[in-house]
């Protein structure tokens, strides 16, 4: 990945983090990953544990960000969620898979939070 895109990704993640916090999410983890699993953010929205994929884009030309959550990416998120739940013994928690789209335009960010962005089954 070119440095510029990496930089945009990191900027997007920290902007998304702030956005989620101001909307009442309690951030529990960022960049939760193992060799096989990766989740950008894990947060609590009231009583629901949310596993959140952050998608940052400069334009919608390449398709909407949420469209880039490919099945194989979904598997990594589900594996990561399973790992997190087991590790912290959160067997009774309610869970959800969200995507937050971050659009950058001239140094400003816009957000679109999609709850239940994909259904695992």
């Amino acid at each position: 990945m070119p440095d510029d895109r990496k930089f945009l990704g990191r900027e997007g993640e920290s902007a998304a983090l702030e956005f989620l916090q101001t909307h009442g999410f309690k951030i529990l983890e960022t960049n939760f990953r193992t060799r096989a699993a990766e989740i950008d953010m894990i947060a609590k929205d009231h009583e629901t544990l949310c596993f959140i994929e952050v998608k940052t884009r400069r334009s919608i030309k390449k398709g909407l960000p949420k469209e880039s959550v490919t099945p194989s990416k979904q598997h990594k998120i589900i594996l990561g969620a399973s790992f997190y739940l087991k590790k912290h013994r959160l067997l009774e928690s309610r869970i959800r898979f969200d995507v937050i789209e971050v659009f950058e335009k001239e140094g400003r960010f816009e957000f679109n939070l999609i709850k239940n962005a994909f259904q695992a089954g």
Partner: protein, 206 residues
Amino acid sequence: MWQFEHNAKALGYKIIAGVDEAGRGPLAGPVVSAAVILPQDFFCEGINDSKKLSKKKRDALFPRIMENALAVSTGLASHHEIDDINILRASLLSMKRAVENLSSLPGSPVPDLLLIDGKFTLDMDIHQSAIVRGDSKSISIAAASIIAKVTRDTIMKELHETYPAYNFVRHKGYPTKAHKQAILKHGPCPVHRLTFRGVKEVLHAR
């Protein structure tokens, strides 16, 4: 538990992946498979047939596999696909997807042999060996079995949020008395397997 792996190494295979599925019996949700490549020194106390393992032990082994395996991947076939092509073929399809997803991991080793639970091999250009009751005979298949089961549980937990009337979080879609009663009461939901006994009769009666 290492016999199959040791024999394969003696034959010259270097990277061996165990493959297993979970969720052929349930009336709802996907069938989920996993492929796992273990390091040679993986310590295996308590790993055996995951269906015979207590839930507690399985829960304890899951993070150990995730942390120590050389590669872990999953694949699934949806309730639609199960209805379309039948459960056996769908479960083989989910296994194939799990193996294909191994290669989507950066730097992940490519297996030169698959050890597959059951009677069937996959439609793939990799050497394979099907082992009946493999999850109690091969450590790699046992590990895949645990990953598949736990992953499927997570998926059913999430589906429970969308369709709470059936209590998927409790029975994971398996045909328990409570689940069958819920289907009778509410009818099938969009993730039920409509070709399965216990669902199709209700569908036809309504």
